[in-house]
């Protein structure tokens, strides 16, 4: 009787181990590093939201069929606490201890570059939505053996985004003004990202014939009135609030009260937020989103996406649309794995991503990575009718074919 009991126990243990092994074989570990606390939390939460939605949809659809096995995505989400050191520690843990096959994140250039120095040598794929990566993604860095060979930029190059944005803003505002706008002031936060992004946007505006003044404000500014008064004294035709949606939402109402300019552009402010906050201006106001607006979706797929995204409990904020810089790439990566037939051949997956395309939600045109591992897609710019909060006219602008004069593209 004792022997029977022992045999049954061993059999049960063996079955449990076999089941455990089978389950482990079917798990595809993917890391997500994003700010769930600290000052980048509003962008960081969108990465987590996109990852959760994509993983749920892929798993619910049966998982990823790679060779003769089916894998379910298991997300390992780590809060970088808006701290580069925590991002590095999280990347080390995910790569060395957990053995993730790919990492999604993170919100800002410096953090993503630091992570790439860990994911690169470990041959772990990294998808980062920072247009500023264009400064480091060059021929040498992305070549086999290069430190960014496994890193992909899931946002268009900044000269492309700046070019399409400048064109869209001017084409929407020009008919609204008494005379064609000639003088623009770009108002931007003075941090690394703001400096990088505005350097391209200023060139893009100049290429459209604008005389441009750049006014930088210290990050975390809340009272913009002294700087806006200064800008008012410059007598601009358009004030472009560039880069940080939260700061823009603080500065813009102050600008309206001070009557700073006859027209405005708000970068990173979604029409949905403009409407929710009941913002109103007696002058024409344009806005664009990174990458596509949730409050005024240009495509049915985008509307469906945001319905599902918000349905999972994600908050509606100025940066909610950033989630679309991350969502599509889960499906594209899964497609590449299925094509390669192995999950342990990152070089083959990189090669497959570079030669394949993917028709995602973010763009009606299939996404393609260029030789520097960067995607290209159009920018949506919307204009709200004066004295309304909800009457938008939107246009989708394609990026220019080449960087403007004076912009080296990096």
């Amino acid at each position: 009787m004792r022997q029977l009991g022992l045999g049954l126990t061993m059999a049960a243990a063996g079955l449990a181990m076999a089941l455990q092994t089978a389950r482990a074989d079917e798990e595809l570990p993917i890391g997500v590093i994003a700010a769930q606390s600290g000052s980048f939390v509003s962008a960081g939460n969108t990465i987590v939201g996109a990852a959760n939605l994509a993983a749920q949809q892929i798993n619910d659809a049966g998982g990823i069929k790679v060779g003769d096995k089916t894998y379910k995505i298991k997300l390992y989400i780590r809060d970088n606490r808006t701290d580069v050191n925590v991002s590095i520690a999280a990347a080390r843990e995910l790569v060395n201890d957990i053995g993730v096959k790919a990492i999604w994140g993170t919100e800002t250039h410096d953090f993503s570059v630091s992570m790439a120095k860990i994911t690169g040598p470990a041959k772990v794929l990294q998808f980062s939505g920072n247009s500023s990566l264009g400064a480091v993604l060059d021929d040498k860095a992305v070549a086999e053996g290069g430190w960014l060979h496994y890193t992909f930029q899931s946002e268009p190059q900044e000269w492309q985004r700046s070019g399409s944005t400048a064109k869209g803003v001017l084409s929407l505002l020009t008919p609204q003004l008494k005379s064609p706008p000639k003088h623009s002031v770009v108002f931007v936060g003075n941090d690394a990202t703001g400096q990088y992004l505005s350097s391209h946007y200023v060139k893009a505006l100049e290429a459209e014939g604008q005389k441009v003044d750049l006014v930088q404000y210290p990050p975390d500014t809340t009272d913009f009135s002294p700087l806006l008064t200064r800008i008012k004294g410059m007598k601009p035709d358009i004030v472009h609030f560039w880069y940080n949606g939260d700061s823009t939402l603080t500065a813009f109402p102050q600008a309206l009260k001070l009557g700073v300019a006859p027209s405005y552009f708000l970068f990173g402010v979604d029409p949905g937020i403009y409407q929710e906050r009941s913002l109103k201006a007696d002058v024409p106001v344009t806005m664009s989103c990174v990458p596509v607006c949730w409050g005024s979706s240009p495509y049915p797929e985008v509307k469906q996406y945001f319905d599902k995204y918000f349905g999972l409990g994600a908050a509606k904020g100025p940066q909610s649309s950033v989630s679309l810089l991350y969502y599509d790439y889960f499906f594209w990566y899964a497609k590449a794995l299925e094509k390669v037939g192995k999950i342990d051949d990152p070089d083959a997956v990189v090669a497959e991503l570079l030669k394949s395309d993917y028709k995602g939600v973010v763009s009606p045109v299939p996404l393609v990575f260029n030789k520097h591992h960067q995607v290209t897609f159009a920018t949506e710019v919307c204009m709200v009718e004066p004295n309304t909060s909800d009457k938008f006219k939107c246009a989708v602008e394609q990026p220019p074919a080449a960087p403007p004069p004076g912009d080296n593209g990096g």
Partner: protein, 289 residues
């Protein structure tokens, strides 16, 4: 000229919010001896509470009073449960307050969310006088601050309570021997300073949106104001706030705009090097000299 006058007008309203938080800090730090780094988060909680109440349909000015009372109650709880145990070990209190500030930030994120909050301008008027735009709500902020400053100043300098408080700061043991309930006075100062932070938060959200992280930015300015004026000196906090407000406004208007924060901090360093006790002197000044 219009632009210059506009800059001066702008500076006044911002200086007002800074003065309010500066007075709270100068009372709590200078008179009660507690370094409360979470004071900025108290202001943020006041702003968030105002946002919530106004969003629920309450009149802004009623919400302002309730926000002050709520944050005063929060200050009472913090003093009773935390800071009273650190009165003899200020460094412990300082570190504890940093922890409290992070906890409050994330509690607000948990209860609401991480996005910035704003309310519609409660007054919504802009007066144009001689080419200068005066935003009515900013003028109200200046007026409310002036009333609070007057009440606080006369309360500290003229009332029996204020005299007893100043006696406690000068010589705590003697004050206790004379029957002054020093501990209770410390609690009272902490509650009053917190109440001012709550009102400051309500006034702030009437001008600018706030986020759960607003407090960590404004606290630096609050300490700068109280040190420039002289710790424990209400008049000093007013002078400190005006100095910083004017430096901010004029440097943003006429200097390198991206250095705006640096200008005011350079002025603070210069003042503290030349007058360690602050412009008008304070409790720390007496000890330092």
């Amino acid at each position: 000229m219009d632009i210059f006058v506009q800059q001066l007008v702008n500076s006044l309203s911002v200086a007002s919010v800074t003065i309010l938080i500066g007075i709270g800090i100068t009372l709590i730090f200078g008179l009660a001896g507690i370094v409360n780094f979470a004071h900025g988060e108290f202001l943020m909680v006041g702003g968030m509470a105002t946002w919530f109440m106004v969003g629920a349909g309450m009149n802004f000015f009623v919400a302002l009073v309730l926000a002050g009372l709520l944050v005063g109650a929060l200050g009472f709880a913090a003093e009773r449960c935390l800071f009273r145990f650190t009165l003899n070990r200020p460094m412990n209190g300082f570190i504890m307050s940093i922890g409290l500030s992070v906890i409050l930030q994330h509690a607000v994120i948990r209860v609401f969310n991480e996005f910035q909050k704003s309310i519609t301008d409660p007054v919504g008027l802009v007066w144009t006088i001689g080419g200068v735009d005066i935003i009515a709500m900013r003028a109200i902020v200046v007026a409310v601050t002036a009333v609070i400053v007057a009440i606080t100043y006369f309360g500290i300098s003229r009332s029996r309570y204020g005299m007893a408080l100043r006696a406690s700061v000068s010589d705590r043991d003697t004050a206790e021997l004379m029957g002054i309930p020093v501990r209770r006075y410390v609690t009272g100062v902490f509650i009053y300073g917190s109440l001012l932070a709550g009102i400051g938060g309500a006034l702030m959200i009437s001008l600018f949106p706030i986020t759960p992280f607003t407090g960590s930015v404004i606290i630096i300015r609050g300490f700068a104001v109280s040190l420039i004026g002289g710790l424990g000196n209400v008049g000093g906090a007013v002078v400190g706030g005006l100095v910083l407000g004017l430096v901010d406004g004029l440097s943003a208007g006429y200097g390198y705009p991206e250095w705006t924060d640096a200008y005011s901090l350079v002025v603070m360093i210069l003042i503290l090097v030349l007058r360690p006790q602050g412009l008008l002197g304070g409790t720390l000044g007496r000890k330092a000299s």
